[in-house]
Symmetry: C2
């Protein structure tokens, strides 16, 4: 991602040039703020989404839920099902996990080029919103949290995450894909039925860029992985530890932004989630469900988000990086201070949080 | 702010060292995430706040509202009132705007030092949460939005912002202060009565740091202010313009993160809000009210935040910086994608947003 300095704000361009840069159609764009260097996805099609949660926060709409088994006709055709159909081209009606294109995508595969109006080098030139946006439906039944899935469904879900990441990694136009989950209305979900999303973008996100940079710098200095060091520290101190298994560790990070924020990392160094073995996914899906159940035992029906940070799709090796899951319960809200500073206020020390939600005797 | 590379993650420290670094008391701390470089304020006292909005989203509690005139006994003693009392030490009971210490401060003036346990140089060393956290009550009456204030009250409010910033700038332990407003429950307000807050911190926030860096780099390259250039561009193109007055311009920024986001900048270059004249504040308060009324006409009772970005309190001159107000209506929610990437999805193009809320004939 270009630093804010790499190109200048355009010098009072002629009208025509600017007007050409303002697309009047409905296709998505990436736009970069010249001050923060951050990218925004202008996703006009998202404005047409249904808003189940806004109008009806808890009502379950089994009959019309597009994600329930039997209602497949309400969604686009599946791009993958788990277990797969005998004919891999077909939509397996006995699916446990079903991957479909997002009906209201933030980015699209057919984003037309934005006419080159000579402004491409300046910071006000939008980029076409090329990308892939899929939904991973994690259950045949109308369950509302990942914690309620059977162990088998949870495993299929984590396998689907891996397979979709592997698949998108082969698209040379994509730089990255984020797998994330929005659970419950307060977690930003618009549909209740348990699902995750994957958004592949032609840019590597700023948050991942910063992690990569910190990990690279730490590796240059210490010949060690910053995440491996963190795993050892947290296991050693144990004050922020939430749970640990043979292959994974879960803890509340030292600078938790959110009360009861939990990170889950493989103990063994691994740069890519896509390389996780079936054994890894078995253990991780069980750990994730245990941590979520502990959170929900303490905070009934808590909205939450989680996402996977893995290496970009670049051919460059990111040996210094270490994939992980970040999980944030949505108990606090973000407001003027957080948006104006980039600094979060957290009323619960991670040491206290870990002591509350700690899972023992796994 | 130190880059993530400037100090390493500690090398498996002995237990005692870490335990010393985990304060068991109730005082706030700053903690830096070694991966993002971002700071978090661990503000345990905030957990004790009342949550009027969570339980009772619209109920007006006039009798017990601590901010209503006549209920001053429910709050700490004022640190300033506008107009001031004849005896400037006294709390003027005829106040129009009243500044009080926050009863549940995120940061405190008496934050004790955290014992130096030899970990000060590493990234897991928390800093004492020194700072100032005040509330600016903007009306004697129980109004819920800045737009409902009389022109006179609005002017007193902007004057109070300026005076409190001037006052905090004299505290050598503070690096910065953010003036911000959370309006309505969806905007993060816990009390309905119109108020703003000011948080002075011993660190300059990451978001402001990035703006300063972009402005400095642009200035080095173009011998011009990036914000002045933006003002000229937006006036010239006019497609994202919301309103303009003799001294100020309001527009939806090119890379708006939020639908109907509006920035307000002085047309003349000025690094510090604290230097604004009374004439400036007159005009700005009128503009701010007009923009808010236009937003509220389109989106009834819309929750919003705004904040002032001004220069840090450092003695260094920030001649290349240009103060401004950022205003965000809280129509969309932030979820897994936004937190996992740092990239916002905005379903409304700023050109369309500006055309909807444009204020003409000022």
């Amino acid at each position: 991602m270009a630093s804010p300095a790499e190109s200048g704000f355009p010098a009072a361009p002629p009208h025509s040039q600017y007007e050409a840069a303002i697309p009047m159609r409905n296709s998505p764009e990436y736009r970069q703020d010249p001050l923060s260097g951050s990218w925004v996805i202008l996703a006009r099609a998202r404005a047409e989404r249904p808003t189940e949660f806004v109008a009806q926060p808890v009502r379950r709409r089994l009959e019309h839920c597009p994600f329930c088994a039997g209602n497949e006709r309400f969604t686009p055709r599946a791009v993958a099902t788990y277990p797969a159909a005998a004919d891999s081209q077909a939509d397996n009606h006995r699916w446990q996990v079903r991957v479909i294109p997002n009906k209201f995508p933030a980015v699209i595969e057919s984003a037309p080029d934005i006419p080159d109006c000579g402004a491409a080098a300046d910071r006000l030139a939008p980029l076409p919103g090329y990308g892939v946006h899929e939904v991973i439906v994690e259950s045949r039944e109308h369950t509302s949290s990942f914690s309620e899935l059977s162990a088998e469904q949870a495993r299929w879900s984590l396998l689907a995450y891996r397979d979709r990441l592997r698949c998108l990694a082969n698209d040379s136009r994509l730089a990255y894909a984020l797998l994330f989950k929005n659970c419950r209305g307060g977690g930003g979900a618009t549909l209740e039925h348990t699902h995750s999303q994957i958004v592949g973008t032609s840019l590597t996100p700023a948050v991942v860029q910063r992690e990569l940079q910190a990990a690279a710098e730490f590796h240059d200095r210490h010949r060690d992985c910053i995440f491996c060091r963190m795993v050892r520290s947290e296991l050693d101190q144990a004050v922020r530890l939430v749970a640990s298994t043979a292959r994974f560790v879960a803890f509340c990070p030292f600078a938790s932004r959110f009360p009861y924020e939990v990170w889950m990392l493989p103990r063994e160094h691994a740069a890519r989630y896509e390389d996780a073995s079936l054994g890894d996914l078995d253990e991780l899906s069980a750990l994730l469900q245990l941590v979520l159940r502990s959170l929900e035992k303490n905070f009934s029906q808590v909205p939450y988000n989680y996402w996977i940070h893995t290496s970009p799709f670049d051919s460059a090796p990111f040996d210094y990086y270490h994939w992980h899951i970040e999980l944030i319960p949505r108990i606090t809200s973000q407001a003027g201070f957080e948006f104006g500073t980039g600094c979060f206020m957290n009323p619960v020390a991670p040491e206290d949080a870990a002591s509350t939600i700690r899972v023992t005797g796994i």
